[in-house]
């Protein structure tokens, strides 16, 4: 599983993950509460974009981030332009785009492990209502481990069909499900054998 994280040593890379998430949440709040006009929206977009080079990310990364949002801008902006007004189109689309760019910035500068750790801390109070944050962190890591295994099963089933010269189409999901569920049972045993889930 390839994470979206890009290694680096910039200021955002060094900032604690929790602080970044907090700032992101505050910015989201600010962006949705502040009454922005067209100029303000453009200003916000410029500031957010400028954070990319500040964080030590390449111009290319910034370009990619914008490019990924092209359909959203086109469709959302277009619809608002036609249905409501050009000003609304710029302001509302701009808000969403600025927020998405900020979120991507956090994602790109923070390791999966650190975010898992933050998640575990955020969930810690749930311990009192009987939810174990360690189990949740474990479930997430376990899933990350299983993703390549399950996609390996999908490849095996594909090969098995070709080896017999058949194309099952959606029916191929059946052997995939059988492999998956059987694997789940084995993993369950392995967890117990390591003293987890007692």
């Amino acid at each position: 599983m390839i994470s979206l994280y890009r290694p680096g040593t910039g200021i955002l890379h060094r900032m604690p993950a929790g602080a970044k998430l907090l700032l992101l949440a505050l910015s989201a709040l600010g962006l949705s509460l502040l009454p922005l006009d067209v100029n303000g929206t453009i200003g916000a977009l410029v500031v957010v974009s400028a954070l990319y080079p500040v964080a030590g990310l390449s111009w290319r990364a910034l370009g990619e981030a914008w490019w990924r949002l092209r359909w959203l801008m086109l469709v959302l902006g277009g619809a608002l332009w036609l249905l409501v007004s050009p000003t609304e189109a710029v302001v509302n689309t701009g808000r969403v785009v600025a927020l998405l760019l900020l979120a991507e910035l956090v994602t790109r500068t923070t390791r999966t492990g650190e975010l898992l750790e933050v998640l575990r801390r955020i969930l810690a109070p749930l311990r009192r209502v009987g939810v174990d944050p360690d189990s949740i962190a474990l479930a997430l890591s376990l899933t990350i481990t299983m993703i390549p295994v399950i996609s390996g099963f999908a490849a095996q089933v594909r090969d098995a069909q070709r080896a017999r010269g058949v194309r099952l189409g959606p029916r191929a999901a059946l052997p995939l499900m059988v492999l998956t569920m059987r694997h789940a049972d084995d993993v369950g045993d392995a967890l117990v054998a390591r003293g987890i889930g007692r």
């Binding site: 089933v157 090969d159 098995a160 080896a163 010269g165 059988v178 059987r182």
Partner: protein, 212 residues
């Protein structure tokens, strides 16, 4: 042959013509990758490959290569043994299919298990079913990738006898050197390339020496 930019097999120049050929070598040496080339599951990134004189990528005009995988689980595509063999017999008219599938199962010692959930078969029975389903496609060549691991003495012998007794050519990938010794010819892979090829006994000796 490159996968994900890594070169997995290189400089493999090889002509196999014995009816039964063993492929041996360490974990990760490229045996399975080689086998997948033979039946067109992978495409070579260069060079020329002919199986029984034809191109394995050739589709309908290509050779029919039956492939037995290590893990029978991934090979059983239908809920019950009968349906699984029937899947290999789709070229037959519907009426005949069921009849014929029953015969195939019986011939592989699986009579009476036609309609049980395939997942409740024992390891040996599952491997036999996988082989039965592959042979039911009437292949021109059979490639088997470690078909006897996970099997007990009797089942391993049974599966070994079955494969070695086929009247189509067989390519057998295995870590079981006794089984390999029963083939006519052997190829030893090492680090993605052919280290030795020749009579089975000689090549197996070479492999044993290289591990000592």
């Amino acid at each position: 042959m490159d996968v994900d930019g890594r070169s997995i097999l290189r400089d493999v120049t090889l002509t196999l013509c014995a009816p039964r050929c063993a492929v041996i070598g360490a974990n990760g040496s490229g045996k399975s990758t080689f086998a997948r080339l033979l039946n067109g599951l992978r495409t070579p990134s260069g060079g020329r490959l002919r199986v029984l004189g034809r191109d394995p990528q050739g589709g309908a005009s290509g050779p029919r290569v039956g492939f037995v995988f290590t893990n029978p689980e991934a090979q059983i595509l239908m809920p019950t043994p009968l349906e699984d063999v029937e899947l290999s017999l789709r070229h037959l008219p519907r009426g005949e299919r069921r009849e014929r599938a029953r015969e195939v199962l019986a011939a592989h010692g699986l009579a009476g298990l036609e309609d049980v959930p395939a997942s409740t078969l024992s390891g040996g029975q599952r491997q036999l079913l996988a082989i039965a389903s592959v042979l039911a496609t009437a292949p021109d060549l059979v490639v088997a990738d470690e078909p006897t691991t996970l099997l007990d003495l009797r089942n391993a012998r049974r599966v070994g006898d079955l494969l070695l007794g086929l009247d189509v050519p067989l390519i057998l990938l295995t870590h079981d050197l006794e089984l390999a010794a029963r083939c006519d010819e052997a190829v030893l892979f090492e680090d993605g390339t052919v280290r030795a090829v020749g009579g089975a006994a000689t090549v197996i000796d070479e492999y044993r020496r290289s591990c000592a």
